[in-house]
Assembly symmetry: C2
Homo-oligomer: 329 residues x 2
C-alpha cells in the first residue's frame, strides 16, 4: 500500500478513487425521494512523497497543471494550468496534513465538467493517500465523511452521495430516510456520457425547481413522487440486470426531468441523438441546465460515443464495483 | 346563409368550420383524464352548387385538387392532386346527400398534416353546407355528432373532441366523466404551430403508450394522473387569461409527454427552438411520434415562426371563438 525505505519511513503513498454517475433520482432526492448513484471505471489517483527541496508542489500531467502550495494558508502559486481542482486538494490537505513539504501527483482520467464527480474522486483519493502517508488509521466511512466536509467547504453545498460512491464503489441506494445501501453491480454496463462545454449550476437548478414547485405544488409534488417510484423500480432492475427495464426507466425519468425545467436544447439534442444511434435509454445525469447526459448502450457504445462527440464531448464508461484503494508502487 | 334564385331554389350553400388545436390532455384523455381543445382562426370553407352537366365534382384551388365524384359508391376519379381529404367529403356526402349532381368547392387555409384538424374542419363544413343545401334543419349538436361518425368511418377511430371543437368554436373542456363544457376565449392568443413532414400515427402512439403503461402501471398511472391535474389547472389559467401559468403548464406537460415516449428528435428540436426564440411555453400537440408542436408566444410569434420554419413548417395561429357558420354569397 505504501513504499517504505530501509529506515522504515513511508516514501510514497498512493490512493485512487473512482468517479461517479447519478443514474436515477437527481432533483427528487432534494425532496426526500431516493436516489441511485454508481461508481465508474474512470479514476483519480493521488501520489504523495516527501519533498526534497522544502516546497510543497502539486502536479498533474493529465491536466497539464503545476503549482506550488502553501498548505497552511490554503493558497498556491500557479505555474501552469487551470486552478479548479486545486481547491479540493488544498482543503483536504488543510484537514489532514501536518504541512510538512510534500510533492503531490494527480492522475485523472475523469474529464472535468463531465458530471462524473472528478472533484469527489480527487478529494477522496487525496484524503486516503494523506492518511496512509501519515500512518493514520482510517476506514471508508471516515474518508467518505471527511471528503463530504471538504466538498462542502469548497462548494458551499455538496451531496454526500458523491463522496459516498467515490469511496465505496458499486451502486449506492439512498433511501427516503437517508439510509445508505451498497450493491455490487453485475450487469454488463456499457454507458456513454455526453457533456457540453456549458456547465450546469447545481444550486441554481435546485432553486429553479423549488420555485416551480412553489408555484405548482400539487403537480410538482406528483412528479417528484413519481421520480421516487422510478428510483425504486430501477433499483430492482439494476440488481436483476434487466437492461430493457433500466433503459425504459431512464427514458421515463428523462421526460420528468424535462417537465421540471432542467433540460436544455443541448441536453435534449444529446438525449435524442444517443437514442437514434442505438442507446436503449438516455437521460440527463446530475442537475441539468447544462452539464451531462448518460446513455445506456449495450453493444452500441462506439456508435453513440461518436455521434455525441460530433457536436459535444463524449466518454465511454462502465460502472465499477471498485471504490477507493491504496497501492504500493 | 344560402343563395336562392327567383324560383326559390337554393343555388349555393356555403359553410365554413375552424381547425382545432389540442392545448392540454393528449394521451391522458384516453385514460379518463380531462382534455382541452380550442378552435383556431384557420378554416375550411365548403360551397355546394347544383351541377350543370350531370356530374358531381370536387375542386380545391388551395389544395390544387380536382376530382369527379361518384357519391353513391363513395368513389372518385382523380383529375389532379392528392386524394387524402376526399374520403371525408365522400363519407359526409354518403351520410347526407341525395346523390344528385353537385359541384363542391373547398377552400382550406389549414395545412394538412399540421395537427390543426383539417379533416374535422372539412367534415363539419361539408355536413353543414349539405344540410343547408337540402334545407334540412340542423343544429351544432347534430353536426358534431354526424361529423364524428364520418371521421370514425374514415379513420377507424376518431376523437369526438376534434369535431366538437370544429363545430362549436372556442375552448372545449372535456371532463373526466366525458361531459363537455364550452368557454369563450378572452386572452390574446398568439400561437405558432410547428410541424414536420413526418406525420404522427395516432393509433400507433396510443398503442405504444398503452404498452408502456402495461409494463409500468404504477409509474405511468401517476404520470397520466398528473397530466389530468395539469389540464384542470390549465382550464383555470385559460379562463383567467394567465399567460405565465398557461405557458408553465405547457412546458410541464411537454416533459410528461416526453416521459411516455411520444416525443421525437424533430419535435424536441422544435419545442426547444421555440422557447429559445421567445415562446413562453411549447409542447407537442396531438399524439406525437411525428406531427406537431404548439408554441405560445405573445409578442414573439414572428420570431418563433421564422425559427421553426427554417428546418420544418410553421404557421401562426390565434385561438378563435367562431365555430361552424353559414354564409350567403
Amino acid at each position: 500500500m505504501v513504499i517504505i525505505n530501509l529506515s522504515g519511513d513511508i516514501m510514497e503513498a498512493i490512493a485512487s478513487a473512482p468517479g461517479k454517475t447519478i443514474l436515477f433520482g437527481e432533483h427528487s432526492v432534494v425532496y426526500k425521494q431516493p436516489a441511485i448513484a454508481t461508481a465508474v471505471n474512470k479514476r483519480a489517483t493521488i501520489s504523495i512523497k516527501r519533498s526534497t527541496n522544502g516546497v510543497s508542489t502539486l502536479r498533474s500531467d493529465d491536466l497539464q497543471f503545476e503549482a506550488e502550495l502553501d498548505t497552511e494558508n490554503k493558497s498556491y502559486n500557479l505555474i501552469r494550468g487551470k486552478p479548479g481542482i486545486i481547491r479540493y486538494i488544498l482543503e483536504a490537505l488543510f484537514s489532514t496534513h501536518d504541512h510538512s513539504p510534500i510533492d503531490i501527483k494527480l492522475s485523472l482520467n475523469i474529464p472535468i465538467g463531465s458530471g462524473l464527480g472528478s472533484s469527489a474522486a480527487v478529494t477522496v483519493a487525496t484524503l486516503a493517500a494523506l492518511h496512509k502517508f501519515h500512518g493514520i488509521k482510517f476506514n471508508k466511512h471516515l474518508i467518505a465523511k471527511k471528503a463530504h466536509i471538504v466538498e462542502r467547504n469548497v462548494q458551499g453545498i455538496a451531496s454526500p452521495l458523491d463522496t459516498l460512491v467515490c469511496t465505496n464503489g458499486g451502486m449506492i441506494y439512498l433511501s427516503r430516510d437517508k439510509m445508505v445501501s451498497r450493491f455490487n453491480l453485475n450487469f454488463k454496463s456499457s454507458f456513454v456520457i455526453g457533456y457540453t462545454s456549458k456547465r450546469g449550476n447545481t444550486g441554481k437548478m435546485v432553486r429553479s425547481v423549488r420555485a416551480l414547485k412553489n408555484r405548482n405544488p400539487r403537480i410538482l409534488g406528483s412528479i417528484i413522487k413519481t421520480m421516487g417510484q422510478i428510483v425504486d423500480e430501477a433499483k430492482l432492475a439494476i440488481i436483476s440486470g434487466n437492461n430493457q427495464k433500466i433503459a425504459e426507466l431512464m427514458n421515463i425519468n428523462q421526460g420528468l426531468l424535462d417537465s421540471i425545467g432542467v433540460n436544455t436544447t443541448e441536453l435534449s439534442r444529446m438525449v435524442y441523438s444517443a437514442r437514434r444511434h442505438g442507446a436503449l435509454g438516455s437521460k440527463i445525469t446530475g442537475s441539468g441546465g447544462g452539464g451531462s447526459i448518460i446513455a445506456f448502450c449495450p453493444g452500441k457504445s462506439n456508435e453513440v460515443h461518436d455521434a455525441l462527440n460530433k457536436y459535444d464531448n463524449a466518454i465511454k464508461i462502465a460502472l465499477s464495483n471498485e471504490g477507493v484503494n491504496l497501492k504500493y508502487r
